[in-house]
């Protein structure tokens, strides 16, 4: 008996010992679980108890003007006094279909309500668009890791309820899960608008510089909403990641500084909440073309030394994964000015081939050219 106990103890010890350190490190990073978690707060940013309802937006599904779209109910939670909430779900067949239509991303609308005040926020999650395996084919759900992007974990969300006077429901009745108490998401208008997707700056003595985008879109575009005749207000963003036949490639030569735009389709919806009629503008899809325009020269004169990068004669430099860059005022549509953020993946790239001068200078706004969000070029200011 004692020998048996000793063997058991040693087996346990051995199992503890041979957990590789590498695996332990990876498992700490390998987070799965909630689609969204965070804190519900009042207008003063203090945590409040309330109700949270999560819906998936049908990005990628066809919709015609005059048609009412159906949001996909995903989950519900009730925040306690500390405001904390968490909504989890496996990947249902419906959600997997939405991910497939949008490059692995699913766009969500989260409605938070407390004391009759309602607020909505928009965000996306990346789950990948790998085909369903034979083993998973018969199951309605499968576990999945909800990420902000292929490389980024999802951050907590802070849902801040607006001013009670402006957003209070008509009769203080509790909001129940059905689009957060709102209904009738009807498409009333569509517009196609050029939207900033990046920039390209080439120092003197550059043979070619290239900005490539696609063949899958990779832009996170702001969602604007308004109540009644009020102003448009941004309330989060949706990720647009549909595919087109090929990537677009903008080229620049020596000393050129270009802003690159591509066309996206935008939809304007009307819907009705207990507080009254509301509208929102969301991006629907990327159309796969591009145009560029000269933009203000931004060179490296005066840049801190640590942000400079030097390249030799006839050298080349290729950034495979760009950093996400947020462009304020990237597009004006239906009177709303939306942000756009591009550059999460291999679908946005930059490439420079320099001439025979002894050195060429690139620099970044928040670091060297290897990692910066914006790359500036040349010796001018």
């Amino acid at each position: 008996m004692r020998r048996w106990q000793l063997c058991l103890a040693l087996s346990f010890l051995a199992s503890v010992i041979y957990v590789p350190a590498a695996d332990a490190a990876l498992s700490a990073e390998d987070k799965a679980g909630a689609i969204v978690a965070g804190v519900l707060t009042d207008a003063a940013d203090s945590p409040v108890s309330g109700s949270l309802d999560l819906f998936a937006w049908p990005t990628g599904r066809p919709v015609e003007v005059g048609q009412t779209v159906q949001l996909v109910p995903v989950g519900h939670d009730r925040a306690a006094k500390d405001g904390r909430f968490s909504i989890a779900s496996d990947l249902t067949t419906d959600l997997a279909e939405l991910a497939r239509l949008n490059g692995g991303y699913i766009n969500f609308v989260l409605y938070g309500t407390a004391d009759g005040v309602i607020e909505e926020t928009h965000f996306s999650r990346y789950v990948g668009d790998t085909p369903v395996t034979a083993q998973e084919a018969g199951t309605a759900k499968r576990p999945v890791e909800w990420r902000a992007s292929p490389e980024e974990d999802a951050d907590p969300v802070r849902v801040r309820l607006g001013d009670a006077a402006a957003a209070k429901t008509a009769d203080d009745r509790p909001i129940h899960a059905m689009q957060g108490g709102c209904s009738g998401m009807k498409l009333i208008e569509s517009q196609i608008r050029p939207t900033v997707i990046g920039e390209l700056r080439a120092p003197d003595d550059t043979e070619t510089a290239t900005f490539a985008y696609g063949k899958r879109a990779d832009s996170e575009i702001g969602v604007a909403s308004q109540g009644g005749q009020g102003p448009w207000a941004l309330s989060g963003s949706f990720h647009i990641a549909n595919s087109q036949a090929g990537e677009i490639t903008q080229r620049a030569t020596s000393g050129q500084h270009l802003l690159v735009r591509s066309r996206f389709r935008y939809d304007r919806y009307e819907y009705f909440c207990p507080s009254g009629r509301r509208e929102k503008v969301v991006a629907r899809d990327w159309l796969g073309d591009y145009q560029s325009e000269p933009t203000a020269v931004r060179g490296c004169a005066g840049a801190p030394e640590g942000r400079l990068g030097r390249y030799g004669p006839d050298g080349s430099f290729h950034r495979i994964r760009e950093k996400a860059v947020q462009w304020d005022g990237a597009v004006d549509v239906f009177g709303a000015s939306l942000t756009a953020r591009s550059g999460y993946s291999q679908y946005v790239r930059g490439d420079w081939s320099f001439g025979g001068a002894p050195e060429h200078l690139l620099c970044g706004d928040n670091g060297g050219p290897l990692v910066a969000r914006h790359i500036f070029a040349g010796t001018s200011a």
Partner: protein, 230 residues
């Protein structure tokens, strides 16, 4: 009376030895001591294995994970003459932890063939006074104070509080193309330690060298060059 040696005269019942309390205690005590010694030996062995495993095992990280990282995914290229040693400097390590990281080893992945040689590796910290000399036609590169260059082995990547500008440590490789053609590598693997813990990071800053310049105006700089290798 005749006695037959083969025949038993009688039988005695087998009895347990008399129970002597003091004797029992000694036997039990010896068993406990033996068990304690065995347990101590086993425990010692287990502890030794833990220490050995922890000291030899490395936590593996991608280029944008772990305490020391680059967060860059790039390919740099430069044409040269055959036999010319040029600089590849597009690897800048930053330490996101609060403790210094000691560099132990660097190797190229996949290993270089005979067509290209890694001649030397140096590093430079904040005193290099530039973000990076990402490529240069000479090695070590001009424009960096000579005293800024340090050997790779044992170099320190300062903790984040000692590197407020995020300059990190740049790795300079002296590389030589030995025959006509385009050659390179996609990854470098760096081993380092922080305190007693060992780490390994696989970096995504690749290099393509090509020679001679008369044959190559530019080297390729696209990831497709490495697809067969990955």
């Amino acid at each position: 009376m005749p006695v037959r040696a083969q025949e038993a005269l009688g039988t005695l019942p087998i009895v347990e030895p008399p129970v002597v309390p003091a004797e029992t205690g000694r036997v039990e005590g010896r068993r406990i001591v033996r068990f304690a010694v065995a347990a101590a030996v086993m425990g010692g062995v287990a502890l030794g294995l833990v220490v050995m495993q922890r000291s030899s095992g490395r936590a593996m990280h991608a280029y944008d994970r772990g305490p020391v990282r680059t967060e860059s995914d790039t390919i740099t290229g430069l044409p040269s003459e055959i036999g010319q040693v040029v600089t590849f400097g597009s690897i800048v390590l930053r330490n996101t932890s609060s403790k210094p990281a000691i560099l132990e080893r660097i190797r190229i992945d996949p290993p270089l063939g005979p067509e290209m040689s890694l001649v030397d590796v140096k590093v430079a910290g904040a005193d290099r006074r530039i973000g990076c000399v990402c490529s240069a036609a000479e090695f070590p590169p001009h424009g960096i104070p000579a005293q800024a260059f340090k050997p790779f082995d044992g170099a320190v990547v300062p903790p984040r509080q000692d590197d407020p500008e995020g300059l990190g440590v740049e790795i300079f490789m002296g590389l030589r193309v030995n025959t006509t053609g385009e050659f390179g590598f996609r990854h470098a693997i760096v081993d380092y330690r922080i305190g007693g813990k060992r780490h390994r990071v696989k970096l995504n800053d690749g290099w393509i060298g090509c020679a001679p310049r008369a044959a190559y105006r530019h080297c390729r700089s696209d990831a497709a060059f490495f697809e067969a290798e990955d």
